[in-house]
Symmetry: D2
Subunit: 334 residues, 4 copies
């Protein structure tokens, strides 16, 4: 017998915690128990340690071009960091290029990852250009192993932004193709106006990133995506829920029996609006979208995790160096 034996640790699973050894062969758990037959297995001493299933981070952005720069982690550094923290699989976002196909996005991102990634990975494909040929491409995408596509309701003025007609159409098509639609839910129209007005007033410090994306624009778009999914009869996943008003829309959908999945992220628990309001460029290190919020939202988010309105805790890892943040076209022109 060959394999790896993690012995002496405490196994933690959704069943609870208990003393057990774990035998792994060919990257598969083949036995969990005590007094396992382990002849020939290589022993790993897990005494005094917790032995957990590898985590899946369902929301990352490795080696992604954005706003004139590219995210700081590529598939080597990003997956090494993930592995160090116990995460053994990533689901990253492959972005459709203007004029390109979804298959092309999948291929491009696969090339980025291949030979670099040291853990498992999969892809959501972000639809940015819903041409007629793209509509017919969805079933083939599912056959390639892509189970989910993403639509951005925000970022008006960039190719990412999608209007309701295409969002609704994607919900209908994805339902038929057996693919789940993920939404970045913020009202791009209102944000665009607020940014334009802030710029014209000279309000450019980082905290205006939050002030031009207030909670109601996220709550609004969350409700809109959910209601369109209701009409389409399709499930939906709202990613990076940051505040109580957005969560309320999800909760009400659950109360009426609709299939809505939702994710929140660690940054909304670890940081807050005041970090974004730090002096000078320091605040710019805390820019993310939706933005950091008032910590008064946290009890609601914890309740959402506790009672199942929020099922996913993803990182939205989308790293930028301070240098690239300073260089970004978006720093001056959002």
């Amino acid at each position: 017998m060959s394999g790896l034996l993690f012995s002496g640790g405490t196994v933690v699973s959704t069943e609870g915690s208990y003393r057990a050894d774990v035998l792994v062969e060919d990257e598969k758990i083949v036995a969990v128990g005590t007094n396992l037959d382990t002849d020939g297995a290589e022993a790993v001493d897990a005494s005094g340690k917790l032995v957990m299933p590898g985590f899946i981070d369902a929301h990352t952005h490795m080696d992604m071009p954005f706003g004139g720069t590219v995210t700081a982690d590529d598939w080597a550094t990003g997956t090494e960091a993930a592995a160090a923290g116990g995460t053994t699989m990533l689901i990253d976002f492959a972005l459709q290029e203007a004029g390109g196909t979804l298959a092309r996005a999948f291929d491009t991102w696969t090339e980025k990852a291949q030979g670099k990634a040291i853990i498992d990975y999969g892809f959501h494909v972000a639809i940015t250009d819903l041409r007629d040929d793209i509509k017919t491409e969805l079933p083939a995408l599912a056959e390639k192993g892509v189970a989910s596509v993403k639509i951005f309701m925000a970022y008006k003025g960039t190719p990412l932004h999608t209007e309701d007609d295409d969002l609704f159409k994607v919900l209908q098509l994805s339902k038929d193709a057996g693919v789940l639609v993920l939404v970045h839910a913020e009202n791009g129209h209102a944000i665009d106006k607020l940014q334009e007005q802030a710029l014209s007033r000279g309000d450019t410090p980082p905290r205006f990133h939050a002030l031009t994306r207030p909670e109601p624009v996220e709550a609004e778009a969350t409700n809109r995506a959910i209601r369109l999914a209701e009409v389409a009869g399709a499930p939906i996943l709202v990613v990076h829920v940051s505040c109580a008003p957005a969560l309320e829309a999800i909760h009400l959908a659950h109360e009426r029996g609709q299939t809505v999945y939702a994710e929140t992220c660690p940054q909304y628990f670890a940081f807050e609006y005041e970090d974004l309001a730090r002096e000078g460029f320091e605040g710019a290190k805390y820019v993310c979208s939706p933005p950091l919020r008032d910590p008064g939202n946290r009890p609601a988010l914890w309740n959402g995790l506790k009672f199942g309105d929020l099922q996913i805790f993803g990182s939205d890892h989308c790293s930028f160096t301070t240098a690239s943040r300073k260089r970004s076209a978006w720093t001056t022109s959002p």
Copy 2:
């Protein structure tokens, strides 16, 4: 002394009901009471009758071009019908023409009404084309006595349809101009897709008018308009609320303290989806937007009237003859 004395009736006001005479001079109530000094007044015997203030119908469409036809009531027949029912003032919708100004809409509708109307009237002005010169026109409109403008979130493919950027901008501008924004809240994008799909399937009987405008598209747009008003810091009035899910969005806004006004209409209490589903062209007589709903919505609407979530009961009088309904371009091309 001159004037009109309504004597012997029971006065009904928001204070209650009580026996009193009402003396009117120069179209103004100058005294309510018993044993009034009425020398020279012309007596009107109101014995055994209820004497009420004239009703104001805040939602009518007289002599309005729509879908290739025109509404059946003009300002003569429409105001005669209103007066017969005790309504002494209408607020009608003046529609901005493509390329036209708001002032022009006001003038055009004033011309339609002048010399024909036998009761008081005022106008909401519907904004359909928010050019830069229109943005600056709002304060002047308020000075003309127009207290409210209307935005259509529905009717995609017609000049009426307005996207969120213009809706949001109008909310900001109207707040500064002291003008109230009224919204027709239905998601035009989703309706457009559903209509296109129904037509391609040959589903053209009148009941598909309702099936292509289901409750969630009204609920969604209602919430969206309210959330955009929240960000703009502006009050808003949602007209013709037809169903419980839309009312829920209004109720939640009231619970968080937002200033939201809302109207419902008699058709949602007197008729229902089954009327629209009548055989042949008969169902077409029951077409209105938002459409007639399942009567299960009524207890919620009654509660809304009782507890103040709905403050206005307007007719949305927008009459079409059977002949004009048959002739309308919209009968075959919605």
Copy 3:
């Protein structure tokens, strides 16, 4: 013509505010208007003043024995104070004595008031002893002009306290008699235990009055009374609602269509828990039941008044001098 003419003022009614004179004859308003015929009427100059209908305070306790003392205002001083503030009618609580009848309570309180009261008055009768003969007395009480009875769910250990069996029975009987049941809604059992425990710890400063009657005991009893009324099919009036959790129970009842009336009082807006926590005997001046609360409850109470969950604003005027507060048996033995 005789009478009083209030001239030159601004009349304020539920209809709005407007310039008008008010002519009163034999204590009745006989005319409201301008240019009234006022020959012989005594003029009262109301220029620059607001002319309002007399207020009705539906919750007072004049000349009432309680806790070994008696309330400070009798029907002379109490009604003079009311009149000075524009209140022209009181509805006071007549308490049934142990062994006594409801008619006797009515007669006793009528005697207290007669010859002293300078304004109108009526009575609620508080039922403290629901013997079989009392059950049959309710219809006769209604004929005497008493439209409401009161039940105390609090004050365990005193004759006022009523258990659920009698509360439920009174709701059933009152419905048949056409009489409305008012409840003082606090859980007497839990309060009794908390007071006993506070006393045994020596926690006797006034703030423990609030700490032994926390918000959930009011919320609980409010919901209980409402649910028992629902089963009995009877309307109910919850008096002196002090906090958001109690109001929530009322709001939910309204949402399901139940007839529930509710009152709040000025003390819950003007004062707060911190007043009760003042040093020494000073805090004792702020004792009332339910007790003063955290001011975080106020936005909910304002919303309740605005949207109709709370229909009544009564004073619960139940005055005690500092001397009588110090003398009261309840100061040491609650």
Copy 4:
């Protein structure tokens, strides 16, 4: 190696379903996996079968005296039936006798079970007589392995019924003793009145069992128990939740962050009020408390299970033969 090997089946756990063998030694699972070392183990072929953990039924009543009869299943037949269905542990209710101690209840029930039960078991102890010596007995009960006590808010007129003062006191004491309080939540006072009135009208068919225990009396008591637990700062478990209004009280407690556990039972999904309303004695076979409800409650109950407001699915197995139902003193005198 000895032991039992369940081989070839599909293991179902909270982690999911997967192909694995299960090795059991000394009644403990020692290994789960494929290719386990199983020398000397006795093989059980589980091919084509689901292999699940033994179920725990946390709500049974074996060999229990009630209403002049005794439940039909004793610890032999009852645990055999449980085992046949895959249930490997029961938690039964040991009832305190009038005048007896909690330890005595535990001992009596242990004697009933010993030598008869073929599966594991534990006890909740029902407190029916909260004398001072009982208050001090709780910590010792916890040391015996009893983790929970039960209070009956219903059954007024029997020793089971407990008033709020004792319920509140038990909540306070149990918190200190580390014991969880379970409540049967129905308002005994209102039920008693309704039963008395039904009997006086001759309304004795089984369906009056439900009509004298309507949903609001369960909703009321559920909320009351939860609010008293909130004041006591103690966790609580509401057993056999039968209807949406009771569940709403639990849901609201969860929304405010309170620790409330709740159970529902299969009878509320499999049967309904119409079964209780069957002709003649047939309906009596469907008597349980809380009673069977309108099936309109089921979507809410399913949602409660799905989103975690209800964490426990217990049988409330409390079996009576038709003969004993006919003999019961309660058939004529509830």
